[in-house]
Symmetry: D2
Subunit: 362 residues, 4 copies
């Protein structure tokens, strides 16, 4: 299968480089009859967009999306949906000298080693600009999941550097530029980010993403487990170095009597498992978390080599995020939505809409 495609039955193929003419995607396998309009992409694209606050990259892309196919009279037809966004704010001059050397911590070196050729403008294909199309595809998946199954997928930033939220409130998350669940922390974060930006450095972050309303039974043993696919989905996001389901790495120090989620007549008594057992959803909230490294595009010089094999100091000018984790929240939501929708379709393929048999929950 194409390495630029994601999903087996709800398949998203993306294309495009950071500073090429356009980025886009082809979504195959969407059920017919789903109403979808260009305006519906706006909200999530804006949440992911650069240039919305001083805490993210100042590249300003219009991100005007065009639906090229697969929608007729406002509804999906079952044929592939192609989406296109023209790149408008390309400053190729910013990237001139990068073509000759390898920025430490970037994919410059590995793309060149793999392919013997690379598009150095803005990181080319390795740029997080590609995630714009994930968010766009995620809009469709989120809508279908919500309308058909009542599933809601939401994310938030749960850590920047050493800072963690003092409290948790979903309502706060969309009220600040950090997707932060505690409004009281926002001034602290702003000072922190301002100081960081001034220092020319960057910092890592953690993003949590939660899906409510997922019915039991989604996910396929053994190599198509819901958590296995989520791990692949989140790890495929730029800068991600770790993925957790439910309690994640905390389970290492837990005892079985503490970890296992007991079942009562009112349902599960806890959710250490993050809503997945044996790779299949339990009916509880599906909970995942991911760690994003600090961007390597910083103003502090770093040692590297150039194409001539000489040592050089690299300073990444241009417009970069001091904390790439911030804008990763809608991307994580999109990836979880893509995984869930794919598994919803896979489940009904094998087990039917109402199951081949119909015994269900105690």
């Amino acid at each position: 299968m194409s390495s630029n495609s994601f999903g087996q039955l709800f398949t998203v193929t993306t294309f495009g480089e950071s500073h090429g003419p356009a980025i886009g995607c082809v979504i195959d396998g969407c059920p017919p009859g789903l109403p979808i309009a260009v305006e519906e992409f706006r909200a999530d694209l804006d949440r992911r967009a650069t240039g919305k606050s001083r805490h993210t990259s100042q590249r300003r892309e219009a991100d005007e999306i065009e639906i090229l196919s697969g929608v007729y009279e406002g509804k999906t037809t079952g044929t592939p949906i192609a989406l296109l966004i023209r790149n408008t704010d390309q400053r190729s001059k910013d990237y001139g000298d990068i073509a000759q050397s390898f920025r430490p911590g970037h994919a410059d070196y590995t793309y060149w080693q793999k392919y013997g050729i690379r598009d150095p403008r803005g990181g080319g294909r390795s740029s997080a600009r590609e995630t714009t199309m994930r968010v766009a595809a995620g809009v469709i998946a989120k809508k279908w999941l919500a309308e058909r199954h009542g599933v809601r997928v939401r994310g938030y930033l749960s850590q920047i550097g050493e800072i963690t939220p003092g409290s948790f409130d979903w309502a706060a998350v969309e009220q600040n530029p950090f997707f932060w669940p505690d409004a009281h922390d926002v001034p602290t974060l702003e000072s922190y980010m301002d100081a960081l930006r001034k220092s020319g450095d960057s910092v890592g972050a953690r993003v949590n993403v939660v899906a409510d309303g997922v019915p039991p039974g989604w996910g396929e043993p053994i190599y198509g487990k819901l958590d296995g696919d989520l791990a692949a989905a989140l790890m495929s996001i730029n800068a991600v170095k770790g993925v957790e389901i439910g309690d994640g790495f905390e389970v290492v120090a837990q005892h079985g009597s503490q970890h296992r989620d007991e079942i009562t007549m009112d349902g599960f008594a806890s959710n250490h498992a993050g809503g997945i057992l044996g790779g299949i959803s339990t009916g509880q909230a599906v909970v995942a978390s991911m760690a994003l490294k600090p961007t390597s595009s910083i103003l502090i010089p770093g040692r590297s080599v150039n194409l001539a094999g000489e040592p050089v100091d690299v300073v990444t000018k241009g417009r970069h995020d001091p904390c790439v984790g911030i804008r990763a929240t809608p991307i994580a939501e999109a990836m979880m939505a893509l995984v869930l929708m794919d598994h919803a379709l896979r489940h009904r393929a094998q087990c039917g809409d109402v199951g081949e048999m119909s015994p269900r929950i105690p």
Copy 2:
């Protein structure tokens, strides 16, 4: 693609239930001409086997492997290699009452919700017995990687409960039943495990796995990234709840100036990235880590419900591992080997054995 298959070009399909007649696998895509004999599976199967020390499950399986196809006069032929192991130590009686209720923390509930039917004997398909075949397939991958590319894949246990190694020595790892890298800690671990077993409880663990000798250029952007595929591979192992590449979740608190691996004339100055940038190998060691939950099969009663919808207390008798993480080390190695071999083949498909072009390392 089949959910019981792993890998795109080196494809392993497993089958079998814990207490069915047999488990097995079909390995498709192995290059021709690789010498392979039945005896070569023994070492890794023994490392993964139950009943080897008092710290693992006392189920004793002979694990006699049979090569059914794909090998002629001691060499692979390029056709599918089928491997078969008969289950011999099946005590179905141990699992009689489990059929009527859902063990908390197990896949009993989710399989039943998904399929409306389940094989309750030993967890059926959801049992870690399936991983025997991963280890078997991994033997072939490890051998090919070693012979063809000089790659070596090794794992060790890096944490049990709160205990971490006092020091690190690869030579120690295979000298104790815990795959533990510090020989001095072994008596402590034995006491810890004995006490745990006596208490009827279980504990989590962390396993690290490292591949040396991986050349730069393996891995496929965007959704076939080497780290994305490793995350899926490791998360698909029973009981795994978290996966890290390189520094993993530590990156959340790191600064860019600290994290990015600088490049010098002698190569990379550090390996925070775990040998992968932009989803493609850098030529450094590929480093991953995973968290395993404490097994839910414990002697301490847990609340659950039965098929009649009544509350029950479940005690899991039978023969279980108090720390499933211990035996997971060879499984993690196998999964990393499967991923690397698959990507080695994918790389030469697109870029050729010697590259379509031949510029290389500074």
Copy 3:
């Protein structure tokens, strides 16, 4: 995807060589709850088996099938179903000198060119013995199609050499060793085959296969068309050199006014299309046909070369079918059943059991 696997959602992976220890398959994606017993494979395996009349190869295989996994208390569980048949009638001595030369018209030469190694015993992996497992998997597909959708898949021989049936009667097909639809022709066929066998030569054949009861809507544009997948399925059968859907090559000389199937208030007025338009089933019978070449394993010497690069004359002794097309009938049925079941599952994945929307037939 594995090249030894067939189908996207109902995936059959086969393994095994003609004279290796065993042949087998793994069937993944079968819906749960389907009753299946070992005895149910007998009828179709017998229809395909050698040694049943003097007109087919005299190799006598017991073809005792064993279900290794995926069935619990007589019903499928949704996990992979592994089937195994031990090879019993292996006469490796028959194939001794074949190892040194390439039989004209066989895969000996191409396997050796591709892999640099081949299992010469009975053609190894290229032998039609592999089709035994297709027939076995087809038994499950046929049963599910019949029980769930009322679909019936049947085949017959429609030509041997220059001989075509004088009339057509489904009832006759299973009453003679040729799967021939006209009982009156049987004595003629027997004389023809006896003379052919005596001459040491072989002859080609044509097999037709028809599925009744297929609902409209199965098949996926553009590259997953029902007819595209049928073409691949039938062409993958040993010795097949041509595939037709509906009127097939007769359409070349037809006019549009003659070919197009008009629609009346009583349904379609004809079925030139073979039940498929735009790659999707119309609700009419799905009709396909395939051409099988005469086997190249004949007693008449043929020119070839040997591994030493010298010219040799090859005579294929051993036990071979003078007309491989005869036993191909159940194989063609099986392949059509596999395609239809796969598409049934794919259809309900995207469109739901009852469709995302429910407008239907006029």
Copy 4:
């Protein structure tokens, strides 16, 4: 895998409707470093284009192709290549009443049955306009095959209605609007087509396609056979109802002594097999043929029903090909090129550029 994608390692995903805003494709897996320019698509797009002679549809599309990604400084980079063509000559008014009824012989009915919704403008997704992108992708495959392996893929029309060529000359094929290999027949064909067009009817055709220079060893047993994939590729082309490899259906009446291609010290003595044995290329020319039905879009009224369930007479006005087979020649070439390139990459994945071992041809 996406049903709008073709190929495993050289994967082409197409999108777009006949009268939507645009059609396009994403090509994934192309090796890096291949020079490719917009102008190189022109020749084959023109060969396929409508409106080039009075014998094809008069729809006039500019077919200006845009490369959106995957090419940097004139060379492929190994990342996905997206190609886009805007639809310019859309006359939606032509298709107004078609929306209410089902044209006999078209996919109108089956799309509506499958999806419950369809884009009726010009047949929407089921239109042969989609094949424009196959031809575009084929340009890249043809170029790579030629440069890297010296493979040349060429097609011609071998029959229209009852008319077959009087002689054969490759040089003639590109000198007339029919891709006809005998220049002397052209006036006859022109009269035939003029009369046909006047009658308002249409006719079928046969197209042959041949690849020279294919090395031995391409193709994967069992379900990834070169001929199996060719069959799927050609059958996926609009209007195709039959596919043959080598002698095709003529093998039914052949004897083994006649069919099998003997091997001499100068190579194969004949090519009845069409260059493929056991699903793997022999090193001879790969030869395939396909039958195209007469288009159902004719001026002669045909019986059908409408959405209200009433009987109607349908006349397909608009601009249609009286013989769709004519323009199918470059499409068939493209599909064969896609299959060959995919298998070239698959072969070197498993067996290496120089083979894992190196014994070769006698």
